[in-house]
């Protein structure tokens, strides 16, 4: 059974069709890319899947459950993690705190009475789990640094780590290479590969950077003007004439 299924998703903004009957499927543990020129509707689709925007028509399901009208935080608890194109970090907190907040969010609902009885303090196993994620992402050396002192590339890794702490089954990355240079992007791809190997999470990548997509995902959706114009195995799709004309400017890559 597919992990994430979107069927006939349509969204218009003031009469402009941003998404026109889009279908999308992601299998458990699969690496999927979503590319397209600016304004193709990638971000709108992303927002519809995460619950930030509500589609006018169509359905979104996750692990057999209908996500219609489900708010962002409940989708997160079902197992959809994400990162942001313009990094969204908790200012004033350390790297470790970021992971610990996410860990606490995964565990419980934050009932006030538990805090009042002193049950809300940090526990050993929470610290251990955050430690393992810090190791995996290579953030152990900056664990106690305030988040503001980190570079953009590492900030994005913190976002990945924060999402991983919620034990997602699907990780959605919104243009993770934006603002990073070539070597930072390569390092990020390497880390993501490792995350995928160790945790077996499905990853959806929305990207501009075709090189990054080519080296990372096994299946690709290409959007243009609010429609999916091609989908399939990455190498096939990137060789497709239609895709090259819409997205790559006609010339062979």
């Amino acid at each position: 059974m597919s992990l994430l299924v979107a069927r006939g998703v349509r969204k218009t903004f003031a009469g402009i069709v941003a998404l026109d009957d889009v279908d999308l499927e992601v299998e458990p543990g699969e690496l999927v890319g979503l590319i397209g020129p600016n304004g193709a509707g990638k971000t709108t689709l992303f927002n519809c899947l995460l619950g930030i925007t509500r589609p006018d028509r169509g359905s979104v399901g996750f692990a057999g459950r209908d996500l219609a009208r489900m708010p962002v935080y409940r989708r997160a608890r079902l197992g959809i993690g994400r990162t942001f194109q313009r990094v969204e970090l908790f200012s004033g907190m350390t790297v470790r705190d970021h992971l610990l907040v996410a860990e606490r969010a995964r565990r419980g609902d934050g009932a006030l009475w538990k805090d009042v009885l002193g049950l809300g303090r940090l526990r050993r196993d929470e610290v251990d789990r955050s430690e393992r994620t810090l190791e995996l992402l290579g953030l152990a050396d900056v664990a106690d640094r305030p988040i503001e002192s980190l570079s953009l590339g590492r900030g994005r890794l913190v976002e990945v780590g924060r999402a991983l702490m919620t034990e997602p089954r699907l990780l959605m990355l919104d243009e993770p290479s934006s603002g990073l240079d070539r070597s930072e992007t390569d390092a990020l791809v390497a880390t993501l590969h490792q995350v995928h190997r160790e945790r077996d999470i499905a990853i959806v990548l929305v990207e501009h950077d075709v090189d990054m997509v080519r080296g990372f995902v096994s299946r690709l959706y290409v959007m243009d003007f609010g429609r999916v114009i091609a989908s399939g195995a990455t190498t096939d799709v990137l060789g497709d004439e239609l895709v090259r004309r819409a997205y790559l400017g006609g010339a062979a890559p």
């Binding site: 935080y73 997160a76 907190m93 705190d97 907040v101 995964r106 934050g110």
Partner: protein
């Protein structure tokens, strides 16, 4: 029909004044991102200066008007921008709100001191045309010359301003600065100069509204101007905080509907008594919660604001182990000495004061929760305390419930009211939430307090002291111990919550709401929890205060004005720590004694704390916390040097 038209004629000039202030509020909001709650206080400055020059000192109208409106008003705006708001452009919105609340408390007190308003009552303000009371008759309808002037001046001023913003280069620059002062500066525009211009313009509007409004009341008093700003904020909300013409329309509508209600509702009915005076607050609350134009609007923040450093960590989080031990030891010693002094040395008067300070510290811990932890400003904390006090009084007097039970019931009811208030308002966040709490607080003050089973009839309901088994807390000394015990319990509770899940979630939400939701935190739930907890603490403190005073006296202890002052004190001293709240309680009760000792007027208290809140701009953690960090750093250096040699 005749009634209708004369009601409209009477409502129109009032609506014009509302509209003028609303336009000024929208203008500053649009051009500097500051929602200026002190706008009414600015209007009061001009009204007071005009009154003093024209009525008291007998100046002719023209020079008095010129000085009060054309000179003083823009200068006040210019100074506020130069000294304060300019430095807050890319600061977090909460810093700007705190500063404007500080001004709201401080400016009227400064005016009263500077113009010697305290000694001579400011009765009989006059309008800005000679013979303002002359009445023109059109058939059976009458309009006074003052009213006509107000209408003409309003439309002229708003028309000129709209033209300036739409048609001139200065207007274009102003609109650009709103989006991002930093980016506008990158494009070669001097954002500071543009900001000054807009603050002078809005100051001018405040001054104009001030002198036009003054003759509508029998005396020039800051309270009238505070209510004026509430009506004007409702009008500004109607305009979605963005359209100047709509702000004027909103003001007119409010004025007209207010007069229609006055005419049509049967006099003497509960509805008339309740709805008429509270109409602006109800309108404001409803607009804030339901008006779609506001819902789409995000609080204005500079896209480049992230460049600024974040708030520093609490001193307690960064100090070394030996320093922690040292501070704790010192705290224990200080508390011991304090207790010894209260029990062995202090007389009845000082025991009373210290007990009140302890109880107010409990109330102030509610601000620690809502402002320090949740990052929201609530102006309804005094009302939550009042709910606690009234519940305590009513349950004990009517149903003979034991007092220790009623005071807990008071806390519970305050929590429920707080949660109910927060449910619709909490997703607004920021300034909109603050305004919703203000609207609710004013509604409570003007309507609910007068209801028999809430605030009691004309006399404040009496409250006795509690008894617990063999212990009777009737004595001042035993009640002091009870208060200290409650303070210790509530203080520890706040610290536990801060270190626990709720505290973490709230800190994450303060950092980034979208990211917090993306890891599964329910923003609304966390904020409503914080609101309910904060209201419960305030309610508990209010119940204790009523027991201590022997009565639940709304006017003396819980008014909206008092609540504003509380926020200002706590935020000035430190809203993020328990110590800040305790120091706030001590300051509120002991500072007046210090003023008396040196022979200064008590008006100095709002002046000093109002101005103190302005330090929030530089030290958002509060001046006590700032002082603590600096002194801790100094002691640490000393310790380091010792260990090295």
């Amino acid at each position: 029909m005749h009634d209708l038209i004369s009601a409209l004629l009477r409502g129109f000039p009032i609506g014009c004044v509302y509209g003028l202030v609303a336009v000024g509020v929208v203008l500053t909001y649009k051009t500097s991102g500051v929602f200026n709650l002190a706008f009414g206080a600015q209007a009061f400055v001009s009204a007071a200066v005009y009154f003093v020059l024209h009525v008291r000192d007998g100046w002719p109208i023209a020079p008095a008007f010129a000085v009060a409106v054309l000179v003083v008003a823009p200068v006040v705006g210019f100074v506020l921008d130069l000294a304060l708001f300019r430095h807050l452009r890319s600061a977090p919105p909460i810093a700007r709100h705190v500063v404007s609340i500080g001004l709201l408390v401080g400016i009227p007190a400064i005016v009263v001191l500077a113009l010697h308003f305290g000694t001579s009552p400011a009765y009989g303000p006059r309008g800005i045309v000679p013979g303002g009371l002359v009445v023109y008759r059109f058939g059976e309808y009458a309009v006074s010359r003052d009213e006509l002037t107000t209408i003409v001046v309003t439309f002229l001023a708003v028309g000129l301003l709209s033209a300036l913003l739409r048609l001139t280069a200065a207007g274009l620059r102003m609109r650009a600065v709103v989006e991002s002062p930093r980016m506008t500066e990158l494009a070669g525009v001097n954002a500071n100069r543009v900001g000054s211009l807009s603050w002078m313009l809005s100051g001018l509007f405040a001054g104009l509204a001030g002198v036009l409004l003054a003759p509508l009341f029998p005396q020039v008093s800051a309270d009238n101007f505070f209510l004026l700003i509430v009506a004007a904020i409702a009008a500004a909300a109607f305009a979605s905080l963005s359209s100047l013409p709509l702000a004027l329309v909103g003001g007119l509508l409010l004025g007209l509907i207010g007069q229609l209600l006055a005419t049509w509702l049967p006099t003497g009915s509960l509805l008339a008594q309740g709805l008429r005076p509270s109409f602006p607050f109800v309108a404001l609350f409803v607009l804030l919660v339901f008006w779609p134009g506001l819902r789409r609007r995000r609080e204005s923040t500079d896209p480049l604001a992230a460049v600024d450093p974040p708030p520093p960590q609490l001193a307690a989080d960064v100090r070394s182990r030996e320093l922690t031990l040292l501070t704790r030891a010192l705290t224990v010693v200080a508390a011991g000495v304090g207790l010894w002094w209260v029990l062995a040395v202090a007389n009845a008067f000082w025991l009373l004061l210290v007990t009140q300070a302890v109880i107010l510290s409990i109330v102030f811990l509610s601000v620690t929760v809502i402002t320090g932890m949740a990052g929201q400003i609530s102006l309804a904390q005094a009302v939550f305390a009042a709910i606690g006090a009234f519940t305590t009084a009513q349950l004990a007097n009517r149903f003979d419930v034991p007092l220790l039970v009623t005071v807990l019931a008071g806390a519970a009811i305050a929590a429920i009211v707080g949660a109910l208030l927060a449910l619709p308002a909490v997703r607004l966040g920021g300034i909109h939430l603050t305004l919703a709490t203000l609207a609710f607080a004013l509604f409570f003050e003007n309507v609910l307090v007068k209801v028999d089973w809430i605030g009691g009839s004309a006399v404040p309901p009496r409250v006795a002291r509690p008894v617990l088994g063999p212990i009777d807390f009737a004595g001042d000394r035993s009640f002091f111990f009870l208060s200290v015990a409650v303070l210790v319990v509530v203080g520890s509770l706040v610290m536990l919550v801060r270190a626990g899940t709720t505290g973490r979630f709230l800190r994450a939400l303060g950092g980034s709401e979208v990211a917090a939701a993306a890891v599964g935190i329910n923003p609304a739930r966390a904020r409503v929890t914080a609101f309910a907890l904060s209201a419960a603490i305030a309610g508990l403190g209010g119940g204790l205060l009523a027991m201590q005073q022997g009565q639940a006296n709304y006017q003396a202890d819980f008014s909206v004005g008092a609540g504003l002052f509380w926020i200002v004190i706590v935020v000035t001293l430190g809203a993020r720590t328990v110590e800040g709240a305790v120091q706030g309680g001590a300051a509120l009760k002991l500072f007046p004694q210090a003023l008396k000792a040196v022979g200064l007027s008590l008006t100095w208290q709002p002046v000093l704390f109002g101005l103190g809140a302005l330090t929030f701009a530089r030290h958002p953690e509060g001046i006590v916390e700032h002082g603590k960090r600096t002194s801790l750093a100094a002691v640490q250096r000393l310790l380091d040097r010792r260990t090295r040699t």
